[in-house]
Amino acid sequence: MGCCYSGEDNNSGEKSSETDPLIPPPNPTSKPPNGTDWITTNVPSARTDEQALLNSIITKTAQNIIDVSAADSVVMEQHEYMDKARQYSTKLAVLSTNLHQKKALTLPSLTSQPHQVLASDLVPYSDVQQVSKIAAYACSAISQIKVDAKEELVVQFAIP
């Protein structure tokens, strides 16, 4: 009453969703977590319930925490390390070439007869004039956009 786990009953089902780890540990009974003194076993001691509860807290915390600062957390042989490095760089290379390919393919092919297209008649002067006129109208219209302020933006609340 009034402290953590005071109401916990290992047999109750409703609390299990709160205490289950988000990512199920790969092998809960595997090697002891780094950086902690692991003296007791997983089986709660019959001596006191308090001891058992404390142990279960330690177990759960240790399962949920990844200690990256612990010493000799990575014991890998040289060839394993090189293999992994090679794996990662291959994966990166594949991803970066995919990205680069996407960028290079963004030039669409407009025609299969470039010489013909470039040799055909130039745009008629009347068309150019018309487009220039339309663009000038559009430019002038945009420059005339303005805010029509109808009301005050900031008002005082009337507090009697």
């Binding site: 669409p108 407009l110 025609t111 470039p114 297209v117 470039l118 040799a119 055909s120 130039l122």
Partner: protein
């Protein structure tokens, strides 16, 4: 495709003053007033890339076949074929109609 095959038809274009053939990596061929003109090549490439991004409503493909940059005395016309940009500088003969 050899450079000669790329450029064969370009110098036969009527009233052409020069041309460029540009790829993603750089200028493949150049001649006439555009010979070695990497600056113009860069500018035209950027304009072409920008134009390719336009889309008319309801269409998935690029909305143009040829891009013309019209100046007073001459015109740059550009198109894309087989991942290469072809640019030709031509005389601008489309002048104002003279009222008799």
């Amino acid at each position: 495709m050899t450079t000669a095959a790329l450029t064969a038809g370009l110098d036969r274009i009527p009233d052409q003053l020069g041309y460029l053939v540009i790829s993603e990596d750089g200028v493949l061929a150049s001649a006439g007033e555009l010979e070695n003109d990497e600056h113009t090549a860069g500018v035209i490439m950027q304009m072409v890339r920008t134009a390719c991004r336009f889309r008319l409503s309801g269409s998935a493909e690029a909305p143009f076949k040829r891009m013309s940059v019209i100046l007073d005395d001459f015109v740059y016309v550009a198109t894309i074929s087989g991942q290469k940009v072809f640019v030709v500088k031509r005389q601008n003969n489309q002048h104002q109609a003279v009222c008799a």
